[in-house]
Amino acid sequence: MSTNADPVDFDPPYLHPEYRSTVLRAPRRPPVNLPDEWFHHLAGPVFGRVLVGPTDHDLTVQHAGEPIGERMIVTGRVLDSDGRPVPSTLVEIWQANAAGRYVDPGDDHPAPLDPNFTGAGRCLTDAGGRYRFLTVKPGAYPWRNHPNAWRPAHIHFSLFGPELSSRLVTQMYFPGDPLMAHDPILSSIADARGRERLVARFDLDTTEPEWALGYQWDIVLRGSRATPMEA
């Protein structure tokens, strides 16, 4: 029995009827298990074609003026399941503006767009596995999943990591948001400890005085460098 085995799996199920869009999109058959050596530890996608510009980590400087909203630093470490830093991996984020409106043309929420905010960022983790974004706090917004449905404020994250199994798309939430308790997407994670893993921690030490609030959020990817890689 390896000590590296995942202690708990907090991932949500595919089918979670409270989140209506799962009903026709969740596969109904169980996924096919394959022997590790054929699948699990294959090297992941080579994302070098996704260019990361020098200011892509700063969502407040992508336009002529500054975006409206609570200026915010979001930073943390990307770790493998052995707790070791994952360096040089791509982190992509996207979010609504401070009013809870996405730039996406599909978003018809009648809240104002901000001409100085797109809400998309990219960076690579440093040698210590650390990422860092400067942005503004996203607003909550309504959606049509059920009557009076509101998404808690969140930032979408996409990460690659070194293996096929380490690919992760998830969402980061903010501590104390009362909407979290009513959100069927977050609540799809049955275990409260799993939900807590998606909530950033306000950190006064990360906060820059008279400039921006600081949040820390560490991300653990599946897989580890200790596992053998297929040639």
């Binding site: 989140y19 209506r20 009903v23 026709l24 394959l34 996608p45 599909g106 297929e230």
Partner: protein
Amino acid sequence: MAETPTPSQTVGPFFGFALPFPDDRCAVAADTPGAVRIEGQLLDGAGEPVPDGLLEAWQGDQFARSGTDREGVFHFLVRKPDAGPDGQAPHLHVTVFARGLLRHLTTRLYFPDEELANAADPVLGLVDADRRATLVARDDSGVVRWDVHLQGEEETVFFAV
């Protein structure tokens, strides 16, 4: 000390302004010898197109990303990969993201002109015979056509990763 992985959440509907990048559908330049166009439709359990999906295809040094359009159509331009290790037929790894998918899905695309290699492929061999066809694309006048069914009678085979 083992760490529990951060749980997954859906990509949601509004990633189209953020995740695409220039020429993201083309893992190789259009004039690359051996380049093949892969085209398909992402469909839900009612057989309706999924217009807000995102697929990624990769193999070795190739990586491509394609959103789906209003008709659920995605496409990639890739160099057809060589046969893999352990007797594996040429294939691409494909991940599928969409609103309504709380976790992404992982599958494989096999090529229609590799009948013998596909028949001997150890991964296809682990899949129920009546579902193997969901992983094998078909030739459509030079385009490699491969639809992904999230659910339903023709549900695509997905793999636990």
